[in-house]
Symmetry: C2
Subunit: 360 residues, 2 copies
């Protein structure tokens, strides 16, 4: 059995896996609609979304959810600000270009936190929307959403937040931050199989959807929202994963809700980070502002990707490699999904073993 | 336990369900790439696709696959012919409108087969592409693809075939029919969980993809094809379902390949249809040209939707309801997925019981 420390897909609880073993039911039924309404209610509860917000479950990846938000809520009359501090910020930039939304990039060096001076030049400059990763997963930087939210409220900007890898790992309050759309995925802290993007839309987002033309039928939120009125989707969704999400949301609710899940994740992250220091492992934490979801590490003595391969092939564990120009420089250790302190003990023992063998 | 006679999601084998119970592995690995290559090889084998064809696995519904084909292979310089004989033909029409592809509709009455005179007026009229359901799932009409293929080859049309509900139920030869793109889904005869659209692209389709601009990054086949060169996908796919597909394709291969699976499906369809006649049930088969995948029925004495509800709530079986203006007029009984003759005996007994109770 491999132990999975990546940031998705992550390990699922037994209850979630048991659903995976069941026959997938027919879904154009009142029974399935009830399940979808319950999913909507619990997602809104955990994000503290307003009663008049709506949730859609799209059968696509988190990146598909990011594009869905842009395609359905923005147009060429917008003027966007976007934080770009890693692979996912870069993806927002690519999407804004593809969909011809005028934008300005707030480029951050990998690992750097957002500061007040990053936003200051854009006060009162007529921007209409702001896009950000709450947690830039590629570099493990958890941006200060309260600072962004204040800026957006002061300047009347519509706020699109990718919370894909941070939802249920770090606190998030959709109402307090006046977030327009939040996006997350089934395979992060929700710890289900990948295949569903979850999006919460505020009343302002709902208005934007109705006013916009979406160039893609499959990702058209007008159709998704219309169908969700009856607890359904326009196209056959990943029914099995939606049923897993249902079990998992109820599991979280029964265990104390979002706060308890965030605390559990924080506890795992702290345990691992404390041990890194205690054992003097040759890794540097490369983020100025950590999320509980992941610890991004720069190994000083060996290629990050070679460490990933070694840990996979010789210790039966997956740590999370990075891509592109970060491939040899950064690997990540996740704290989401069904993991326990004993799992980290095994990973730390592997690192210590590799140091003894002079591999790192 | 419900018995599922719908046309998707359908019942899965134990081996496929066992995969659903496993932890979903990390996928940016050589191991997962190998699985994807094996999936590609077997899908091509079962469709008799040419060696230089390519397969992509998109995390979306079959309808998402239909749109992906249009967005990536057609443009405003095309002149399309499309068969519209039910809900899925109508969907092709909607998509051609949305993407501004000039087209002419070959409108067929529900249940009617395609005839030579339907195509004759369009000989030598400068059409560039042809779109069809091989099997119009909503009305259970299996169109004559050989007739269309001849027409397309004679007139040099690029052929897009939705084989979503017919692949592995009725014979299909991608090479002999010179099909440009075929589309299927994970939850039909592949009998896995829904969430993956499978598409085979011929060399001509690959050329069209490279020459076209796709308005949607998530469904951009240039990116999907580029990533598939290394057995990967641009975005996190529904990894669990791709692993189910792998087990299922190998299962089919071991049992005798596409021919054996088609024969199994044909046998179930014949068994059910023979019994319908034998028991004089008050249902009319509404299709002139049946697929092995489904039997579309018009109940003479009761609303089709009321029969669906009754069978669900009182007999714990799902037959497949229709939507829109067919809701009260047609229901369908599927022959795909993990079903046996004894299952049909139970369904037939339920119908007989309903007749005795004067419900039908």
């Amino acid at each position: 059995m491999m132990i999975n420390f990546t940031v998705g897909p992550v390990q699922s609880s037994e209850a979630v896996r048991a659903i995976g073993a069941e026959q997938v039911p027919y879904f154009r039924t009142a029974e399935f609609s009830e399940l979808m309404y319950e999913n909507e209610r619990l997602v809104k509860k955990f994000a503290n979304a307003s009663d008049d917000s709506k949730v859609v479950f799209m059968t696509c990846s988190g990146s598909g959810g990011m594009e869905t938000a842009i395609m359905n809520c923005l147009n060429r009359n917008d003027k966007a600000l976007v934080i770009n501090g890693g692979s996912f910020g870069e993806r927002f930039v690519e999407l804004l270009k593809l969909h011809e939304i005028p934008f300005t990039e707030i480029k951050k060096e990998y690992g750097k936190a957002l500061r007040a001076e990053d936003l200051a030049p854009f006060e009162g400059q007529g921007y209409t929307t702001f896009l950000m990763q709450k947690h830039e997963t590629s570099t493990g930087v958890h941006y200060d959403i309260d600072m962004v939210a204040d800026f957006c409220m002061r300047n009347h900007l519509f706020l699109i937040v990718d919370t894909i890898s941070t939802f249920l790992c770090d606190s998030f309050d959709m109402t307090a931050t006046n977030t327009g759309i939040m996006i997350t995925g089934s395979q992060k802290a929700l710890a289900c199989a990948p295949g569903i993007a979850v999006m919460i839309l505020s009343p302002e987002a709902l208005e934007r959807v109705q006013e916009n033309h979406c160039c893609c039928q499959y990702l058209d939120l007008k159709l998704a929202l219309k169908n969700m009125e009856r607890g359904q989707t326009p196209w056959t969704p990943a029914v099995g994963i939606l049923r897993q999400i249902n079990v998992r949301l109820k599991e979280i609710d029964a265990m104390g809700g979002a706060e308890a899940e965030i605390a559990r994740c924080a506890d795992l992250a702290k345990y691992f980070r404390d041990k890194l220091v205690e054992y003097h492992l040759p890794f540097e934490i490369i983020s100025e502002s950590l999320s509980n979801a992941v610890t991004p590490l720069h190994p000083i003595t060996q290629s990050a990707y070679q460490i990933f391969l070694k840990i996979k092939d010789e210790y039966s564990m997956w740590i999370c490699p990075n891509g592109g120009d970060m491939k040899d420089v950064i690997f990540r250790v996740g704290h989401i999904g069904y993991l326990h302190k004993e799992d980290y003990d095994k990973l730390l023992a592997a690192f210590i073993d590799l140091r003894e063998k002079k591999f790192i």
